[in-house]
């Protein structure tokens, strides 16, 4: 173990001993096994090897020179559960104020290195999203605050506590208004704590704020059912799903849960396959729209019209009141018919935060009898509790000088509030400003005190995303910095010296009042990470119909649609280089946002990719987006952070100022361009059989439909040599293109698992992205409303691998288990294999991506390197790398089986991409195992290999894309 690093880590937590709040001492951070990764991090050895190659003789002369001494530092006291070199998994919960996910945290030597999905959860069912996958890197973010700050200077907790408590006491005594501004809080214990706090301090008002609010749904349900709630949705029970600007597979409410549900209703298997049908009406090309069976482009202002027309069509046949509606721009008869055919088994959702629209949606769902089946009001979703009315009032009050103290937790309105400048001027008028932000974000900068919260991987918490579904967040690492959990701070201020984990446990004692053995139940819950309480659906009050209306659509030039990108969301993780570099599933753009305009508009106005336009005083690059409805433009929020950190600052522009459906004028700035780094520049399949598709009807008639070429190729492929025979093990993977939504969760999962470096915008622009797996996206048919295909491509592990033949130094060859192995240290970097790979899945280390100031991302930071997987080599400059089919996982699985003296079982080994796939599109297993799922996929009539006419005999196969539509 390297000394320097050790010391610096010590520095990081030199004050830890002082803050004695975490009495459940997590084990010491450093142990012997860590050295593997450590060596990688310092790479002194690699430098040495480099020297070796350069001048052998010169070095040989002085070969008495010493090798670097490596220290192995054992633990003073080794905790029982910790075995150096063996990974531990802890069930925990990801919740950042917006997204919820039940997770397992993989730790090595007590440092989290990977997030996996938790199969025990009934909500997320082992799925994650790219943001969840990348969140582990936030833990090792250099931009995190190292300790409490006062007016921009470091202070200590005693001082900060003393001063803040003093101020708050004064404010309380004077009865002046203090606002606790938080993100949505779904933790019952935290809620209890905050309620206790507000009870003790009646001058404190608690306001929850969401950057992208969904309060209209709550308001509509309040009107319709008398309950201001968001119902829980069951996409799995719906036969027909109609979405209106609701990107439920990407960003809307609970994308992981919905993806699981959606894909489960579209799994084609068995003798009588069933498949749901999805319609999507949207004003931009969203991930959901790209996967929908039918997609319609509408303007934001037309949404209400279309919905009302749809309602009228349904109402006509169900005998409900019909309202006046302008003529729909889209013919909704077919949709209505389809919905009516599936009454009670359909679902209509809208993502537009407009009361009127949500009322129509509710009315339609009511008319279809979907309440109680696909929507459940009595099991409400606790996410998105933010109320923009309250927020507006707060900003008004602040500006009026009516607020004297503000405590800001987990929100950044100075950046993401639609009227951020008002918020900022208001904030300036507040006397006492305390932020609990863990980085010096835009809001924290304006605060007097910044009392940094733990990262969620360092915290205790619980969550109740949907009534009755609980999950637990537990720390998986000792706090790296001198931070303190927000809840602990609250407790401290309330004069409670206990810490939040005790508070939480007590809270759970009351919640589990019936429990006969709390200790064991509580331990079980902590072990599983989730707890599903038995909830009785309460009686549903009658639907109280509201009058519905729709204004005629505006006749303006362009209506703007702000949206969240799959990776970046609301910009909270702007400083996460993994997410910044994650190619957007639709546009494949990295590192930037842009104004997406329709091809027709681009032609008319002579705009092309990377041109710069000006909208409302903001200059932005243009991206021509097929499928962007005419008369609309869309722009992603979450960019343009100014105080996020090295990776996030100055990326793109801030689009939070734009309102949904705002009409804009686009002014071209002639002669100026702005480079956009995209990972894919050609969007047409060129009529090649790459993604094979069929429709569900055709599939039912002939399961081989769309895949006729497979039979042809199988028959026509001849070979000089015999096929390789495998004994015992032959790893294979299959990817169901029908299930895959292209959400890119797997891309980040792979990056986290395999130490894939981040290379920055410029190199992405040079088409050198290092991701071992990419998601190819093709458009076909109509440019104005194309069909979209997502296809994950990684190394296909061909049995007749073209790459293996051409490596002169035998650095890549075939294993007896069917893997195409790549020995990095043998590679001399001729790049011949990259050329000869027809799938172009091999990656070259064009530069040294580790410890290189030109690539100042997580691998150039002592802290950031802690996320590296110690089982995977960090590749040197000049070597080729590629998907290894997570061979470290294979080896680990085999070893476990051997140690347990048993044969390998299905599910022993899961690939990083497979494990957390929210749609279960990826299957991995032993092709020689007759009973395995992968074998079943191999025999599936939909199975084909990518570019199988080349007779590369890949071990990875694809299943035809089936769309449930007519064309």
């Amino acid at each position: 173990m390297d000394k320097q690093y050790w010391q610096s880590l010590e520095d990081y937590r030199e004050t830890k001993t002082k803050s004695d709040f975490s009495k459940k001492a997590e084990p010491e951070f450093s142990i012997e096994g860590l050295d593997e990764s450590e060596i990688k991090a310092k790479s002194s050895r690699r430098d040495f090897l480099k020297m070796l190659g350069f001048s052998v003789s010169a070095v040989a002369l002085v070969s008495s020179c010493q090798m670097p001494v490596r220290k192995a530092i054992p633990l003073l006291n080794q905790p029982e559960e910790l075995t150096p070199g063996v990974a531990n998994y802890f069930a925990s919960t990801f919740f950042d104020g917006t997204d919820y996910c039940s997770i397992l945290v993989k730790t090595r030597e007590n440092r989290p290195i990977k997030i996996e999905g938790n199969d025990m959860s009934k909500l997320t069912k082992g799925g994650t999203s790219s943001r969840v996958q990348a969140s582990v890197l936030n833990l090792y973010d250099d931009a995190r605050l190292k300790g409490p700050m006062k007016s921009g200077n470091a202070t200590d907790w005693e001082t900060a506590d003393k001063e803040v408590i003093e101020k708050l006491t004064v404010l309380a005594d004077e009865g002046k208004k203090v606002v606790l501004l938080t993100s949505t809080i779904i933790s019952p214990s935290t809620t209890a704590l905050i309620e206790e706090f507000t009870l003790a301090n009646p001058n404190v008002e608690w306001v929850m704020y969401d950057a992208m609010s969904m309060s209209a749904i709550r308001n509509a349900n309040d009107l319709n059912f008398g309950r201001p709630v968001i119902p829980s949705y069951s996409f799995d029970k719906a036969k027909v799903i109609v979405g209106f600007n609701a990107d439920y597979l990407g960003n809307w409410l609970m994308p992981v849960t919905f993806s699981k549900q959606y894909s489960s209703s579209r799994k084609i298997s068995g003798k009588n396959p069933k498949m749901s049908r999805s319609y999507q009406f949207e004003s931009l090309m969203s991930l959901t729209g790209s996967n929908a069976d039918y997609r319609f482009g509408i303007k934001p202002s037309e949404e209400a019209i279309v919905l009302l027309n749809l309602y009228n069509k349904i109402a006509e046949s169900t005998g409900m009141s019909v309202y006046n509606a302008p003529k729909s721009p889209v013919d909704v008869t077919d949709v209505a018919t389809d919905l009516l055919k599936n009454k009670g088994k359909s679902l209509v959702v809208s993502g537009t935060n407009e009361l009127n629209i949500q009322l129509i949606v509710n009315a339609i769902n009511n008319a279809l009898g979907n309440y109680g089946t696909t929507l459940n009001i009595s099991l409400p979703v606790n996410l998105k509790q933010g109320n923009e009315k309250a927020m507006e009032a707060l900003v008004k009050d602040m500006n009026a000088g009516k607020v004297d103290g503000i405590l800001i937790q987990n929100v950044n309105p100075a950046y993401d509030y639609s009227n951020a400048s008002d918020f900022k001027t208001g904030l300036a008028k507040v006397d006492t400003k305390v932020s609990f932000a863990d980085t010096m974000d835009e809001t924290a900068q304006l605060c007097d005190y910044v009392l940094p919260d733990h990262n969620y991987l360092e915290s205790w918490n619980d969550a109740e995303p949907i009534r009755g579904s609980y999950s637990i967040m537990q720390p998986t690492i000792r706090p790296i910095f001198n931070t303190r959990q927000f809840q602990d701070t609250m407790l401290k201020w309330m004069g409670n010296d206990g810490d939040f984990s005790d508070y939480m446990e007590n809270n759970w004692k009351t919640m589990l009042a019936d429990s006969t053995n709390f200790e064991s139940d509580w331990n079980n819950i902590k072990h599983d990470g989730v707890y599903h309480a038995k909830v009785e659906s309460d009686e549903l009050s009658n639907f109280s119909a509201q009058s519905l209306k729709a204004r005629t659509s505006k006749n303006v030039d362009i209506e703007l649609v702000p949206y969240e990108k799959i990776g970046m969301g609301i910009g909270k993780y702007s400083n996460n280089p993994w997410l910044q570099e994650m190619p957007d599933p639709i546009t494949t753009t990295t590192w930037d946002n842009y104004l997406a305009i329709s091809p027709a508009y681009a032609d008319d106005n002579n705009l092309k990719l990377e041109d710069i336009v000006e909208v409302n005083g903001i200059e932005m690059p243009v991206l021509v987006q097929p499928g962007q409805p005419v008369g609309t433009a869309s722009v992603a929020v979450g960019y343009g952070r100014t105080s996020a950190g090295k990776a996030g600052d100055g990326r793109g522009f801030n689009a939070f100022g734009f309102k949904f459906g705002e009409s804009i004028t686009i002014n071209k700035i002639a002669g100026k361009t702005y480079p956009l780094a995209m990972t894919q520049m050609h969007h047409d399949m060129e009529e090649r059989p790459i993604v094979r598709e069929t429709t569900f009807d055709q599939f039912k008639k002939d399961p081989k439909s769309g895949n006729e070429l497979h039979t042809y190729d199988e028959k026509h492929n001849v070979t000089l040599y015999n096929k390789i025979k495998y004994d015992g093990l032959h790893w294979g993977m299959s990817i169901d293109l029908t299930s895959c939504t292209g959400c890119a969760n797997c891309v980040i999962a792979c990056q986290a698992e395999n130490n894939v470096p981040v290379i920055g915008k410029e190199q992405v622009k040079n088409r050198r992205i290092m991701h071992w797996m990419r998601i190819d996206r093709y458009y076909s048919k109509d440019e104005a409303n194309p069909e979209v295909f997502h296809m994950p491509v990684m190394c296909q592990h061909c049995d007749n691998a073209p790459c293996e033949n051409v490596c002169p130094v035998a650095a890549t060859n075939h294993s007896t288990e069917g893997l195409n192995q790549m020995a990095y240290n043998r590679c001399i970097g001729t790049r011949y294999c990259m050329n000869n790979c027809p799938y172009k899945v091999r990656r070259f280390n064009w530069f040294e991506f580790v410890n290189n100031n030109n690539f100042d991302y997580n691998m150039n930071s002592e802290l950031g390197k802690l996320v590296l997987n110690p089982d995977v080599t960090v590749r040197q400059r000049g070597v080729v790398e590629k998907c290894s089919m997570c061979v470290q996982r294979i080896q680990e699985g085999k070893l476990t089986a051997k140690m347990q003296d048993r044969e390998l079982r299905e599910g022993d080994i899961k690939m990083a991409c497979e494990q957390s796939c929210p749609t279960d599109a990826i299957t991995f297993g032993n092709l020689l195992d007759e009973n395995s799922a992968i074998k079943e996929d191999q025999d599936n009539p939909r199975m084909y290999h990518l570019l199988e006419s080349l007779h590369t005999l890949p071990s990875t196969s694809y299943l035809t894309r089936v769309r449930n539509n007519e064309s």
Binding site: L52, T830, P838
Partner: protein, 458 residues
């Protein structure tokens, strides 16, 4: 080798043996001409720039080049193949014409062989520099090691390349040097300078020139030539296998070996033509390198150009006839009409069309025109490699991965450096080594002067 019948007069001006010695050696004794310094300065400048390119590449990484995940080979491989092609002329001249008993080669083969050596040296730099980890480059040799021992992949065309090119360089060098030994002895015996006598004495290996040594010499030369003859075919065939063995559309084709060999000879002859015109101009070797020689080369070039043209057509035909959509796309959509039209049509024009001008006797006889066309051939052959390497890679099977390629300044620097190296090598050769094989010319002198003029034959 020496005593074969000759078709016409090879050496004009009724030279005596003494004249030959003096004519060839005169430039070596003359004071350094100004053009030599100017050229050397330019060449060394280019080499220094090239060294910068090398340094930049090795210290920072291949990322300093314009390559990307899809186009992993670029200028380095293009230039490598181009240089290797040029390097074919020497052996082609010496050995093919030797086998074909073409006597007129005697006044050109030395220069052509020298060109081979320097071109192959320049070419050899590219596989080196283009390795990602040049410091581990020794892995490519199958030497006894402590890794198991772990050997190489003998299926890899790159390994064949390494073997073929080092063999070619070795064989060419031995052949070249063997041929120079008698000439060094001539210098040793005729020069007035003591230093020269010493140096060339060492280099001449104590050559005697008696009957037995001539017998063994000629046998050895014939044997080396005979051994090297298949190399001329095999080296570029193997280079072509770098492409032909792969699966990439536009590469994966059986026509490549003959097509590459012909192309190599084409570019090699083109370069020989360029160099001989310069040499003859500078050294006033008009009597040795006669118009007849140039015309003979021009005629050969015309013929090869026709082969090249038909190869291009056949490529298109096979692409169409195969019905393979990837091949079709690469040839018809990408090369002929697509993004790389310019390169494709430059190649076609320079290689297949312009040399057809040699059909006209007037152009054939006009040295300036011949010189210009020879330059076009060199450029055209460069474009041919560009078309092969870049167009195929940049748009292959999966459209999602398609990427374009543009060279960076570093790649240009490396190329310029190798040109500098080549030029420096050639002018050093001009300066310090007899540019015409004295003994060979002498052997044909007597027989040819008495016959009908080679150039006036029609």
């Amino acid at each position: 080798m020496y005593n074969t019948r000759v078709r016409g007069v090879l050496i004009k001006g009724n030279k005596s043996l003494k004249d030959v010695t003096q004519d060839v050696l005169r430039p070596m004794d003359a004071p350094m001409p100004r053009w030599w310094y100017v050229t050397a300065f330019l060449a060394i400048s280019a080499m220094i720039w090239g060294v910068w390119g090398f340094y930049n590449t090795i210290s920072t990484g291949i990322g300093t080049w314009g390559l990307n995940n899809n186009v992993a080979w670029g200028w380095a491989i293009i230039n490598f193949v181009w240089w290797i092609g040029i390097g074919h002329a020497g052996t082609a001249f010496s050995i093919f014409l030797l086998i074909l008993r073409q006597k007129w080669r005697t006044s050109i083969n030395r220069a052509a062989e020298a060109m081979t050596i320097f071109a192959v040296m320049a070419a050899g730099l590219f596989p080196l520099i283009h390795m990602g980890r040049i410091w581990d480059g020794f892995f490519i040799f199958p030497y006894w090691n402590t890794r198991g021992p772990l050997w190489d992949n003998f299926n890899s065309p790159l390994f064949w390349d390494v073997v073929a090119i080092s063999t070619y360089l070795t064989a060419s060098f031995l052949f070249w040097y063997l041929g120079m030994i008698p000439d060094f002895a001539t210098i040793r015996e005729t020069t007035a300078s003591k230093i020269k006598k010493k140096i060339y004495g060492v280099m001449s290996f104590g050559w005697l020139g008696n009957a037995r040594s001539w017998l063994r010499f000629e046998t050895a030369a014939l044997l080396l030539g005979g051994l090297a003859a298949p190399l001329v075919v095999s080296v570029h065939s193997i280079v072509s296998m770098d492409f032909a063995v792969s699966v990439i559309p536009g590469w994966h084709t059986t026509i490549f070996p003959p097509y590459f060999v012909i192309g190599a000879i084409f570019s090699g002859f083109g370069m020989v033509l360029t160099l001989m015109i310069v040499l003859r101009k500078l050294y006033k070797f008009n009597d040795y390198v006669t118009d007849g020689h140039l015309e003979a080369i021009a005629r050969i070039l015309t013929f090869i150009s026709l082969i090249m043209g038909s190869a291009y057509l056949i490529e298109l035909f096979t692409a169409w006839y195969s019905g393979n959509e990837y091949e079709l796309f690469t040839f018809l959509k990408n090369r002929v009409t697509g993004e790389y039209t310019f390169a494709y049509w430059s190649m076609l024009t320079c290689n297949a069309i312009i040399p057809q001008l040699f059909w006209f006797k007037k152009i054939r006889k006009n040295i300036t025109m011949v010189f210009i066309i020879s330059l076009f051939i060199n450029i055209g052959m460069w474009f041919e490699r560009y078309v092969i390497v870049v167009t195929s890679l940049s748009r292959d099977f999966l459209p999602a991965t398609w990427a374009t390629y543009e060279p960076t300044i570093t790649e240009v620097a490396v190329f310029a450096g190798t040109i500098g190296l080549f030029v420096m090598g050639v002018i050093s050769f001009f300066r310090w080594i007899p540019t015409i094989a004295i003994s060979e010319v002498k052997s044909v002198l007597k027989e040819t002067t008495t016959l009908k003029s080679f150039t006036d034959e029609d």
